[in-house]
């Protein structure tokens, strides 16, 4: 199962990547844990997770082809 991961703003700075593909993660908590292991710097950052453009607060099941975005605090305007 392929999941597209997007990093924005300071998180792209911290990971050195703006996107990557991840296999075999079944839900957002598993994905978060895996990314925190791969990019330990992320520990220091505040962010929310959006699945298919919707911010999710609780653990959320992922499906093939889902896009999961890691979003630092918004700063528009």
């Amino acid at each position: 199962m392929n999941i597209n991961v997007l990093f924005f703003g300071s998180l792209a700075d911290a990971t050195g990547k703006s996107r990557l593909e991840i296999n075999n993660v079944s839900d957002t908590e598993t994905l978060r844990s895996k990314l925190l292991r791969d990019f330990p710097k992320l520990e220091k950052y505040k962010f929310v997770i959006a699945v298919c453009k919707h911010v999710v607060k609780a653990n959320t099941t992922l499906h093939e082809g889902d896009t999961v975005a890691f979003l630092p605090p918004f700063a528009g305007g």
Binding site: F8, G9, S10, A50, K53, L71, F74, A75, G76, G77
Partner: protein, 147 residues
């Protein structure tokens, strides 16, 4: 899902006074409008840890931002009695003193325009995935935090 067309919110670079004038001028045919309220966000040359901000480089999660702008628009029309509204936000580099946000709300009576404009600006700041990289004179940067 509504069929209402999505407006193009993002503008490359600063929003110019001429762009704003054109937008105002287009409303002279709408003679049921009695009041416009316009909010303009301008980039400040804040001093952070002794370094001066010379520009902000804006980026966004565009697909999500466009959905959020659409929701904000639908909500404003449902809550307030508006004739029309427009939102423009910069992407890319905007220098200190230049304009990065243009919210333009028009109504028959001024109260709706005032209430809606303020509400929309607050929603943009809290709901839309946009980030600003504050660039200093020495080309170092920090990430803008909204208050």
């Amino acid at each position: 899902m509504t069929e209402k067309k999505k407006h193009n919110v993002f503008v490359n670079g600063a929003i110019t006074p001429n762009f704003i004038a054109d937008s105002i001028g287009k409303h002279s045919g709408k003679t049921n409008i009695g009041g416009h309220d316009i909010f303009l966000g301008q980039v400040r040359n804040d001093i952070i840890d002794d370094k001066t901000v010379v520009a902000i480089e804006y980026s966004a999660y565009q697909e999500m931002a466009e959905e959020k702008f659409h929701e904000i628009r639908e909500y404003a029309f449902s809550k307030y009695n508006l004739v029309c509204m427009h939102i423009y936000h910069s992407l890319g580099v905007v220098k200190a003193g230049e304009i990065c946000l243009f919210v333009f709300v028009s109504s028959k009576h001024r109260k709706d325009a005032f209430d809606a404009c303020r509400d929309i600006v607050e929603q943009i700041k809290s709901m839309v995935p946009i980030w600003g990289k504050e660039i200093f004179e020495d080309e170092s940067h920090t990430w803008k935090q909204n208050t």
